[in-house]
């Protein structure tokens, strides 16, 4: 009995001390997310950033490709389709969590949901910068190794209904604080999309070079043949006017 009590006390003590070590060693989930968000276009440069992204989709329903020019300032973003010709002029304006879609010929922009599919597996909310630190309640769940890299595994729960996903499992590398992979979950907790990230781009903020996302590969969890790839290019700081992000200016 004495041995059993001692063992229990020791185990309990070890668990507490391990938890204390974790808390002491790990930064907060918000801090980790803020760093990871910066590499995905969020608030790295106050005046604004621009980059281009090519969305390629392939799967059972054929393949497609559209290129966008992204202009991001704070929590606002404007994505303008530049190719192919039939999509040219289509625009998506992100005013925080509100999104408007506009294409030449429309009399008014259409308010759309970030959850609506833009193309293939990519939702509207995937194309712009991410701000998981603001939109989701994050919790560090564990430490896991992904592709040989030690990562924090975070569980993210949406703070509002009008964000892109209800729940996300997000692996962020401890070394670079960059999102390595993600699983997007339904309200009931089923994984419906998987994403993997690469960071071969650099963004110079004026004072420092930051790693910037170069590729996001989204795979349909139910049908792995359906893949959408977002290839990011030429991220650079740019002085962007606030009026660019005014919905009234979409209809020119």
């Amino acid at each position: 009995m004495n041995y059993l009590s001692s063992a229990l006390i020791m185990t309990f003590g070890l668990a507490i001390s391990h938890q204390q070590t974790l808390l002491a060693a790990d930064p907060s989930a918000v801090d980790i997310l803020k760093d990871a968000d910066r590499a995905r276009g969020s608030a790295a440069v106050e005046e604004g950033i621009t980059w281009s992204v090519k969305v390629d989709t392939s799967g059972e329903d054929g393949s497609n490709s559209v290129s966008y020019l992204l202009k991001v300032k704070g929590s606002d973003a404007l994505a303008e389709a530049v190719a192919p010709a039939r999509n040219k002029g289509e625009m998506m304006l992100f005013n925080d969590r509100n999104i408007w879609f506009f294409k030449p010929g429309l009399k008014k922009p259409v308010a759309i949901s970030p959850r609506q599919k833009l193309m293939g597996q990519a939702a509207n909310g995937d194309i712009a910068s991410t701000n998981y630190a603001k939109d989701y309640e994050g919790t560090i769940m564990a430490t896991e190794t992904v592709n040989g890299e030690a990562c924090w595994k975070l569980d993210l729960k949406a703070k509002a209904k009008n964000v892109t996903y209800d729940k996300i499992r997000y692996w962020i590398s401890k070394k670079d604080r960059l999102g390595v992979k993600a699983e997007f979950l339904t309200v009931s907790g089923d994984v419906f999309k998987l994403a993997a990230f690469e960071y071969k781009n650099k963004l110079n903020s004026g004072t420092k070079d930051y790693a910037f996302v170069s590729k996001m590969t989204i795979t349909d969890a139910l049908n792995p043949k359906n893949i959408t790839t977002l290839n990011y290019e030429s991220p650079k700081p740019s002085k962007l006017s606030d009026s660019l992000f005014n919905v009234n200016n979409l209809v020119r």
Partner: protein
Amino acid sequence: MNLTLLQSLSRMAWRNLRRNFRRNLATGVAITAGFTAFLLAAGYASRVESVLRYYTIYGLRTGHVTIQKKGSLEMYAIKPRLWSLDENAQSKITTVLATMTQIEKSGRLLKGQGLIGNGCKTFPFIATGVDLDVEQYAMTHPELLKWTPHITKLNIGRPIWEAEANVSPVAVSIGLAKLLGKSKTLDQIDRTQKLSILDCSMPNVRDHFSDDANVQLASGTWDGQLNASDSEMMQLYSTGLVETNSSSIVLSMNQLQSLYNTKNIASYSVWLKDAKDTQSTINTLNEKLGDFANELEILPWNEERIGPYYVGTMRFIVTMVGFIGCVLALVIILSIFNSATMTVIERSEEVGMLRSIGYTRGLVRLVFVLEGFFLTVVSTVFGIIVGLTSMFFVNRSGITFRPPGVEGGLQLILVPNFWVMILATVCVSSLAVFATWIAVSGISKKNISELVAGTHR
């Protein structure tokens, strides 16, 4: 048996009816009441059947016959591109339809989903795309107008086929228009005013949604890209069903095809000059389309997957009326049997006397059976009179009720069905004859002396 004897027995049976007037009156009233109830229930069923029939054929634009790709009824909603009819298929079908003289009208249908917006907010829609001449044919068909005034009377604005060439018209279901906060159609607004982009953060922004009739439709194209188009709300209409009244829109085939970036369609609807030709038309289509017919499903409008609301509702109503019919049959059998049994017991001496003066067992039975038959016929005639009178007053009273799932309520109208009346009268009379025969058969076998002396009791 000669006619004179039958006439004589009939007169006797008729006179006998008056001898037990109160009992026969009570029996007759029971039959009349039951028969009236059955006619009213059948009148209700007849009315609902007609409403649902024409609502399905014309209101839902199903036609008498629909043609779609095999398997599309289950798969079209999931993968429309793979389960729709492409231009080649459309060409083959159109060519065959053009050769068939029994067809009054045929048209293409496209269905799909998306989001409809008021400039600030979007809501899901289920769209029907239809060629405007087909829409005009279906929506102005006399049978639809006759049977569904409770639906068509709710329409506001002009139909989409009357739109000017420079307008992209859309008809929006009333519930959806309410969600959008848009209550005015294109004709009800000042069209000279320039469209304004609303500041959606304004507290009173909802008050301005009806400043124009413009709505935006957004959807994924069938090749997987986001697309959007503008439309003007020409008409607000009721779908007639709560389930669809907050999500349905109707627009031209070209507009919807453009939104989905496709030339494909979901199905063909075929309206016939005579609905009786439905099955023969299906057979002819299968024959004329040859091997291509194997890739298609050609179905009648009352197939469960095509008209689930019609089939489901009618199954319930037929069961209900059938149950009432069974109860009525039981009431009639028991009433007649009871009445005949008591009459026979009371009149056993008379039966004995008739037997002793030469009436055969069969003739004695016939007298009683004729009594039961006359009683039933008179009662059912009264039942028909009372039933028709009740229907007349019910129809005149304008009673509105709300069947489950029906938007806006339905006026209670009972439709007399001539064939149901004839059939019910024959059934009820046969049952009465049968019940009387059973009741009388026992007494007619008794010994004459026993009957005359009354010792059999």
